[in-house]
Structure formats: structure tokens, C-alpha cells
């Protein structure tokens, strides 16, 4: 599987969105999990919580860092992936599949326009990857 799948949309803060009808599945990208290192803990919102585009919806922790997860879209949480809470390593092993984090019922499809295409995201991380350091 590619590290930046073409069928997804991306945020600058390294989250991805997969749209299926009205429901958006959200996670963090391969680049993000690589930067974080081994994920040890994921904090996710409860079902029915509302999330806002670009606002924090939770936290992903590794041994050396803790990062907010920013929601790429607004809406209502319809499901959270308890598997990544039990086995945080899924985020490292399979960030786009088994490592998904929440499913959100989309409030406004227009928000997707504010996100990056796979190509734009590749360019985005291509820029930052050269800036060195862990």
C-alpha cells in the first residue's frame, strides 16, 4: 500500500479522510506515525461528540511526543475504533486501514475543499521531510 493513498484527502497536520457517502473515516498518515515513533496511547472522543474542522479531537502519544489529532472535517462522531485504544501499535502498522480512529457523520461536504489532494500532500511532506531532525 502506498504511503499516501490517492483516494484519500489530507490535512496539513497529517490527518487523512476517507469519504463513504455521508460518513468520513479519519486517521493519521504514514508520515505522522513515522515522525511519532511507536504509538503508546490514543485518546479519542466519545460517540456522539461533535468535532470541528481543524480543532483538536484527541491525542496520539508515543514515548517521546504527544500530538493533538486535528479533525479534518466537522461533524458528529458515530464510531470510535476501540482497537487502536487496546493496541496502539495498529496506528504504526496500518495507519490507513486497521489504524483508523473515528468515523464522523459529515456536517458540510464543502469543507473537503479545504483539504489537500494526495498529490498536494506529497508535496507538503516532501517540503518538510528535508528539514532534518527527528
Amino acid at each position: 500500500m502506498s504511503t499516501v493513498p490517492d483516494d484519500l484527502r489530507y490535512s496539513k497536520e497529517h490527518e487523512w479522510v476517507r469519504l463513504e457517502g455521508d460518513t468520513a473515516t479519519i486517521g493519521i498518515t504514514h508520515f505522522a506515525q513515522e515522525q511519532l515513533g511507536d504509538v503508546v496511547f490514543v485518546e479519542l472522543p466519545e460517540k456522539n461528540a461533535s468535532v470541528r474542522q481543524f480543532a483538536s479531537l484527541g491525542v496520539v502519544e508515543s514515548v517521546k511526543a504527544a500530538s493533538d489529532i486535528y479533525s479534518p472535517i466537522s461533524g458528529e462522531v458515530v464510531e470510535r475504533n476501540v482497537k487502536v485504544i487496546e493496541k496502539p501499535e495498529l496506528v504504526n502498522r496500518s495507519p490507513y486501514e486497521q489504524g483508523w480512529m473515528v468515523k464522523v457523520k459529515l456536517a458540510d461536504k464543502g469543507e473537503l475543499n479545504k483539504l489537500l489532494s494526495a498529490q498536494d500532500y506529497r508535496a507538503h511532506i516532501g517540503e518538510t521531510a528535508g528539514a532534518g531532525g527527528d
Binding site: E61, V63, G133
Partner: protein, 510 residues
Amino acid sequence: MTIRTQAIPDVGAKTPVPALEPLVFELARPGRNGRHVRSGEAADIPEAFRRTTPLRLPELTEPQVVRHYTHLAQLNYSVDTGMYPLGSCTMKYNPKVNDRVAGLFADVHPRQSYRTTQGVLALAYELEQMLAKITGMDFVSLQPQAGAQSEFTALLVFKAYHAKRGEAATRTRIIVPDSAHGTNPASAAMCGYHVTTVKSDARGNVDLDALKAELGPDVAGFMLTNPNTLGLFEERVREVCDAVHAAGALVYGDGANMNALLGVARPGDLGFDCVHINVHKTFSTPHGAGGPGAGPLCVKAHLRPFLPKPWIVREADGSYHYDTAREDREPAGLGDSIGTIKQRIGNFGVLARAYTYMKTLGEEGLVETGRDAILAANYLLALLRPAYDVAYDRPPMHEFVLSAAKQKKLGASALDISKALLDEGFHSPTVYFPLIVPEAMMIEPTETEPKETLDAFAAALLRIAERVKSDPASVRAAPTKAPLRRLDEVAAARKPVLRYRVPGVAGADT
């Protein structure tokens, strides 16, 4: 000097996995007891309040306990066994006379009448005076028990200062440099402030133009470490302080690096409104494996009214008391004080050690400390710069930052180098801080390391640099000569095991 790997003889205790030393729980056997306290009294406790939960503390006799903790001690690296080149920690020698005289004050309770603690008050009062003089400030609070608590105290003082001028509601922001220690923004957040960051320039100074753009009427204060966490003196420090003051805000001095300034310069002369001191850094008190310390807060006169109470008062006849109407009453006229952080005088046992150190060194000794600290750091830098990148090209003060970016490209990171140093018999420097230098290694030798030790440390780091070129895998495999190999910190964080659970009991983990 190599770290001894203690061969622990079989003590007849079973450990579930190979271990350096059994736990006290594993050494225990039912019926093993000491006789330290006379027993036999019957205590009258109403049945409803009695403990029925089993008290499964381990039962051991004293010889076992002594051997156990002695074994544990022997697994530790310490200042007494070797050099710690940790930047911004100032791991200087901890004089033993300080420990001994601190013990003279062991049997005094903080709620005793001031009339029975004149020695305590006299020491504390003189200590306040000396700290004020050394920092160029006017008044001192000895209550904070560490640097972080001192920062928090200072920010509460800032808040009260602005409130007095009717500006507490508008001044809600604190600015920190991008090189700031993590406690700075954490303390600001605890104080209800939100935090913005200003970047450093190419010479390692706070970018003055960026700071001026960042300042505004919503800023309460700016927190600055000087010399900063790069070991560099802020070249335009007075302009920085002036800019902050012009915006109606205050400048907080993080005094973690005060060792470089002893007798060299005083924060009070450079524009700071206050500065905290880490006595467990600059004034030689032992680190105690993570604490205790003490963090006196030194302020200019305009901030005094807000300092925590009570204050120590010296009478004309040379006697001392607190400025309270009646001892441990609410201070007469709490006035504008923020209240109390710690009853009475903070970590007195630690402060007594700092006092003794200052009395031992005296003015000339303190001045010599600052100069030797700067000398040692610059010497070490001269020895190391052939092999490691230097982050900024101007003379540092008592510490400096190298980058292992070059070595990382060859296959060994700052982390790997820090582990390889353990095999060479040295503790590592601070790594990955400050955040603005990639693969950072922050090195502070202090003034109490002999030149031979500095030479040996440099030689070790140069040897490692060579090994990185020829055999980086061996560096990544380090340490191999310490009591343990690298520990699985990921597993420790994923499935935390934070205590022992008696086996066979509900809820047991092990």
C-alpha cells in the same frame, strides 16, 4: 572509569524474570520482622473505622533491607562516582559539610514558635540578603521548592501585579523563546495564561524584531533564560527587556544557568524584573536522584508586595520574627500578597546547604566559580569541535550545544552516542534539547571537574565519533557495559506496570 556491573550473589529470592536485584516483596518472608519501635500498646479505634483491608507490606529483617538497598545504590551512577556533563543541570560537586550542618536543623518543626527558631530565621534572612545581592534584585521568597514552582509563583506575582493596575483581564498572554525549557510554558498554562513562542535568530539570540512584533497590550510577561539554553548570552538583552517593558509587560528570568553569571553579571542589572534560582544547580545542593531542590524567587522592589507570605522581619535588637500579628495566624495585612506556596520557609534543609556553600566560598569563591565554569565549557568545546557540528558560531558561557546531525547521517543518532558514552564510563549530556537544534547534545562540565576528567570525556566522545564512521552499528547497540542494556520504553508506556501486585490476589499483574 568504567561503571561497575555489580555481580549480585544469589540471595535465595525468586524473581519471575532475570533481574539485577530482587524486589523487597520478593525478599520478604512471613514472620521476618525488625524491632525498631516498641510494640504492645492497644489502640482504641471504633470498629467502623478500623482497617480490614489486608496490609501486605513485605516482612524483612534489617540485614536484608541493608543489603538490598546497598545493592540498589551500587547500580547507580552519581556525582560521587563520575561526571555528569548535563547541560543546564549544573551537576557540580555536592560538599559533604553541607549535608552535615543541614542535619543540625533536623529536629525543628515549622509550627514551633518563632521564639524557638531564631537560628532558622537568622540563616534564612541572611540567605535572602545574599541571593538578592548576587542576582542584583531587592527581595527574595524562599518558599518555592523547585524551579518550576518558582516559575509558577512568579507568574502568579505577575498576574497580581497586573491586576493591581486593572489589567489582569486584558493581559492574558506569556511569550517564551523557542529554546525555552518545558517548565516555562507549562507553568504559564497552570497560571491560566496562554503561551506564544518567539523564534531565535541565526546568532542564537531572541529575534528582537520578531519579539517586538509579538508584543502587544495583551502580553503579561516574557520568560527568558540568560545565558539561554544554547549557553549563549543574549547579546541585546537590555533591548529585549526594554521592549517588553515598553509594552507594559514584565520580564521573568529563568535562573537555571546562573552558574555562568556568578560574579560575571547580575540579572538585576540587565533589565530583569525577577529571577529564580535553582539551588540544586548553582549552589551545589545534591540532586537526590530527581529531588529535592529549592527555587528561591528574587524580585525587584515593585514586585515585592505580591510575594508569598509570611515575610521574615529583623528587629533592631537582632531578633527575628514573621510579619504576622500572631505567629501562624493569617498574616496581618496579607495585603497584595498572592498568599502562601509553602508554609514558613520552603525546603529549609536544602536551603541550609546552599547557605553553607555560599558562606564557604565567599565573594571570591563565587566569582571564581563563574569564571571556571565558563573556562571549562570553552575548553571542552575546543576539544570537540573537530568532530561535531557546533550549533552557533560564537563563544558560549558555561555550556554549549553540539549537533550530531553529521553522525546521524552516518547511522548513529544523538541518542546512540549518549548510550555509547555510558560504555565509556561517563553519563550522557542532555540530548534532544533545546528543540531548535537537530540531534542536540547540550554539554555543561561545571567548574568542579579536573582537567584530566575533561580530557578523558572529550577523548571518549572523539572515539565514539570515529566509531560512528567505521562501525555505527556498534554505537547503535550501546550500552553493553552498563548494568542493563537499552530498556523497552514503548512497552512500559503501552502497558504500564506501575506497582507490585501480590501474586494470587485479585488484580495481580505479575
